[in-house]
């Protein structure tokens, strides 16, 4: 039985209140973000009569991961309907929607078996969604996907088609079609070394990543400043290199984060950056890093990059990275390799390294870097199982020979030239240069992130096919738990849409309105996403 009085008032777009403030951008209602590739949204809506009792029925295969996801989304739907103080006036510019049916049920049809899958590069994340307000299936939302990952993405889209009218009514838009990502690698880098983040902060970030259909957490876990990762094989690393005893990630916590991410279809790629950015490694393992010498020919007390002349280093890395490959289920490890040049002087100041260079007949620090990195790649190749790797562009720029299936992450300025060069060498690339979100500026800077097109380097179709995605990077020099969420969201949402939605999705006034809704969507779901468009309210 329809509740005509409620439906009528929505249908007429009337609001007895007269609130007339002037937000800079009016939000949309029920527009998903990132924009689906091929989903038609109708101008009809369905009332969800009792949101906290909305039935989700599993009609295909099932597994614990699927039922966990359904419970999560049931709670989200119930939360969307919670009455909020204040009446929502209908945004101007949004046509009133006809409400012609009630949503009776959500059918979730996973067409293949799922057990305990781990998300991986190239996984199928597509889904079909039908929310019908007429015909034989009227009142039914049907979600179909071949994989658990597609189901996860589809459930997120479904709840984003829902919107509340502010007086307790919750609606879902009529929809029909399919959706799938443009790129398979859609990542967020979080640096937990410059500042430490508690596990709860990382989980909150993963939750919001799922809202934005990101699927890779690139965990830049250690760096010069601290070593918060507790290794089983080398516990001294964290004991010496963490900021404090309680600023570490225990084995249990790391596993917990990986599982939390898996349940949301997010891969966790750990980065252990060498040979530069390793100052904190040398505290727990003296001798791992190079002792720098002063002009007087004596050690000056400071340390530089990894000491490539110390054979123990390679043994250590082999054991350590084996542990990493076992503890992180992802096929990929990020091996870093950036900014080694900052340590060149230190290498050259050290008499043992100079002697070692002579024994190898090499004269430049670039060659030292190359020798180290080549040996690193060799020892990774010997790790049991098929361990693949990602490296920062520096390694290839410095002519290290990498495996043909290496993924190279482009992060420096002049990225178009670099993308062209790397893809011409047949290497797969991830773009992050234009998406360093730690660089802040005044105003709606998401426009710039949104407008960046990874394929704008003008490569061939073959080259474009080697662009596998991108990453928004949140380096933590000036970020910690106090400001991470607000600084990341909704700015990273711009990157999310660029990486998910079809090529040619351009920014218009409507995009800004969708962004306004999306930012408030995150706020309403309990996350501190900051204003995107100037004055306004959620």
């Amino acid at each position: 039985m329809l509740r005509h009085w409620l439906l009528t008032s929505v249908a007429a777009g009337l609001c007895s209140c007269g609130w007339a403030g002037f937000p800079a951008v009016e939000p949309t209602q029920g527009e998903p973000w990132p924009a689906p590739s091929d989903l038609q949204l109708g101008d009809t809506a369905l009332l969800i009569p009792m949101p906290d009792q909305l039935e989700f029925r599993v009609t295909g295969h099932s597994c614990d991961s699927l039922t966990a996801a359904i419970s999560r989304y049931q709670a989200i739907v119930a939360g969307l309907a919670a009455p909020r103080p204040g009446r929502r006036r209908r945004p101007t510019g949004t046509p009133a929607r006809r409400v012609s049916a009630e949503l009776a049920r959500v059918d979730v049809n996973l067409t293949t078996e799922c057990s305990m899958p781990y998300p991986e590069f190239g996984m199928d994340e597509s889904y079909r969604l039908e929310v019908a307000s007429s015909g034989a299936t009227s009142g039914l939302a049907a979600l179909t996907a071949d994989t658990l990952w597609g189901v996860l993405r589809g459930l997120e889209t479904l709840v984003q088609l829902m919107y509340a009218n502010g007086v307790g009514g919750l609606y879902v838009r009529e929809a029909s079609g399919s959706d799938g990502p443009r790129y398979s690698h859609r990542g967020i880098l979080l640096d937990t070394a410059r500042h430490f983040y508690p596990v709860t902060a990382i989980k909150d970030m993963l939750d919001v990543m799922a809202i934005n259909k990101f699927n890779v957490f690139h965990w830049h876990i250690v760096d010069d400043q601290s070593f918060p990762f507790v290794s089983e094989t080398f516990p001294a690393l964290a004991e010496g290199g963490a900021y404090a005893e309680d600023m570490v990630y225990s084995q249990q916590q790391v596993q917990d984060i990986i599982e939390f991410a898996r349940l949301r279809g997010i891969r966790v790629i750990p980065e252990f950056d060498t040979p530069g950015h390793t100052r904190s490694w040398g505290v727990g393992l003296p001798g791992f890093t190079t002792a720098c010498y002063g002009a007087d020919g004596q050690p000056d007390g400071s340390t530089g990059p990894v000491d490539p002349s110390n054979e123990d280093v390679y043994t250590m890395l082999s054991i350590f990275l084996t542990e990493i490959s076992e503890r992180f289920p992802d096929n990929y490890i990020h091996l870093g390799g950036d900014e080694v040049r900052f340590g060149f002087d230190c290498w050259l100041s050290n008499p043992q390294i100079v002697a070692w260079m002579q024994s190898l007949n090499i004269t430049t620090p670039e060659e030292v870097e190359n020798v180290f990195f080549q040996r690193l790649l060799d020892l990774v190749a010997d790790i049991p199982g098929d361990v693949q790797y990602v490296v920062w562009q520096d390694a290839v720029d410095n002519n290290v020979t990498v495996r043909p299936d290496t993924i190279v992450e482009v992060w420096k300025g002049g990225w178009q030239v670099e993308m062209d060069k790397l893809t011409a060498q047949d290497l797969r690339v991830i773009l992050s240069s234009p998406w360093y979100l730690d660089y802040i500026s005044y105003g709606s800077d998401w426009h710039t992130y949104y407008d960046t097109e990874p394929e704008s380097f003008g490569g061939s179709a073959q080259q474009n096919a080697l662009v596998i995605g991108g990453e928004a990077c949140m380096w933590s020099e000036l970020v910690d738990e106090t400001n991470l969420m607000a600084r990341l969201w909704p700015r990273a949402s711009a990157v999310a849409e660029r990486l998910w939605s079809p090529k040619g999705t351009v920014r218009t006034d409507f995009t800004a309105s969708r962004m306004e809704e999306h930012r408030c969507r995150m706020v309403k779901r309990g996350y501190k996403a900051q204003p995107a468009n100037g004055p306004g309210f959620c």
């Binding site: 800079a24 080398f234 404090a244 309680d246």
Partner: protein
Amino acid sequence: MRRTNQNIFDLSQNPKQNRILAAWCLSHANCGFPNVNPTLGEPWPKPQQQVWDPALFRVDIDVVPFNITGETCADLEEAVARYTNIITSFIAEFRGVTASRLHASGASHVGDDPPFLLEQIEVELRTACSEDQYPEYGMDESYSLTVNTGDALGRAVIAADTIWGAYRGLETMSQLFYYDPSGAVFVRSGSIVDFPRYSYRGFLLDTGRHFLSLDVIKQNLDLMAFHKYNVFHWHLVDDPSFPFYSVRFPLFVLGAFREDKIYSPDQVADVIEYARKRGIRVIPEMDTPGHTRSWNSYDILTRCYIDGEPDGTFGPLDPTNSSIYSLITDLLDEVTQRFPDRSVHIGGDEVSFGYDCWLSNPGVQTWMAERNYTTPQEVEAEYITNLLEVVAGLPEKPQYMVWQDVVDQGITIKEDAIVHVWKEPEWQAEMDKVTSLGHRTVLSSCWYLNKISYGIDWYKYYDCEPESFGGSAQQNELIIGGEACMWGEYVDDTNVVARSWPRAAAPAERLWSAKGANSHSEAAARLEEQR
């Protein structure tokens, strides 16, 4: 279970040495490599005079008792209770952290007992205080603080002539506590004589562009007290919304974003009282004739015309509508009665954005012709002049503040009016001009904290010196202070606190501490502690 590889590196062969390493790291507070090591027990903003005593002064009790030895009142007792809590939780937190670290690392406590243990903190207020006291311009905020020196061995003594000074002294006292990584809590010993360089040390929040909840406003007031700010400039309303509930003009809140985005009279009174108990004045701003788009509930805005027809948009207040003056009189009468501060900010900025609208309106054209006006500047000048008369006639006799635009338009203002300098980059020339005209001035140009940029931007806020325009001593006298502004275009509850702090700590020190305290490199370690 995987084998533990301790045998690869020489130093890690011996598990004991590994622990020693960790202990070394703890005892030197040097685990990992933070960029700037924080100071221990150094207050911010820097006191005018401080003499430190190197003696260790330890705290072994969990709750440090306060003893009020002079005058007292409920406000003082409440403040003492507040700081008792702050200090108690400080001590509890330090003990908790260090105990767990010690347990894990096996390090030992510092060996020898220091000669003195903190027994109590005395607060000596020398003049009577009462709940009727409201902080005001020029109030005495000075205090002295003696910790474990002279005749105060084993004690700390805060002495002040006014409750405002007592508040500032209590804050400084709470900042002298620090913990040694060996596991003990200490207090910096020594003596401090302190007072502000400027009497006006303001912070602007803009609730017209985004609504801020009472909780966030109060949190910001706490942080202001923490940094010895003493003026909350409440930019209540603006073009986007009118969240201030006026008792006389209740329809104004139809210009709010929504019915729950409104400050009721009780809530406003609550904010004022909360601020008062921290020695913070609340100066409301009602900005006219521009920035008033949300004011149209009473049909007082100019209709803009295109091709001889109203285009549906609105500009500044309509100068031809004589009822605007009775309305603004009544509104400001209400505001000045509800806000006990002597000052009211009446805005007056950026009217030029509305000039085209004025000129497009046939009614305004006729009205201008009757007065022989040919420029919109003349329209603005007439409005502001009338507004100033309105303010002068209010029963509360408020002192008014205006944005610099009013003076820049050549409008004559009362001598005791305060001119708020906000434009960049020529603020030094403006300060020179305003003070040459004999007006008192508040500087904000270099402290627009809403304008974010990447990196450690507090240096530039720190380095901004209000007297750097090279005026005479007499001109410098007219600088009554400065104000950090957090305009609300891009901030709301989600980010306003993180964006404001610790960046606002830089102007706080510039405005409180001696002119000579101007080395941002010396300040960096203290700021690290303050954060």
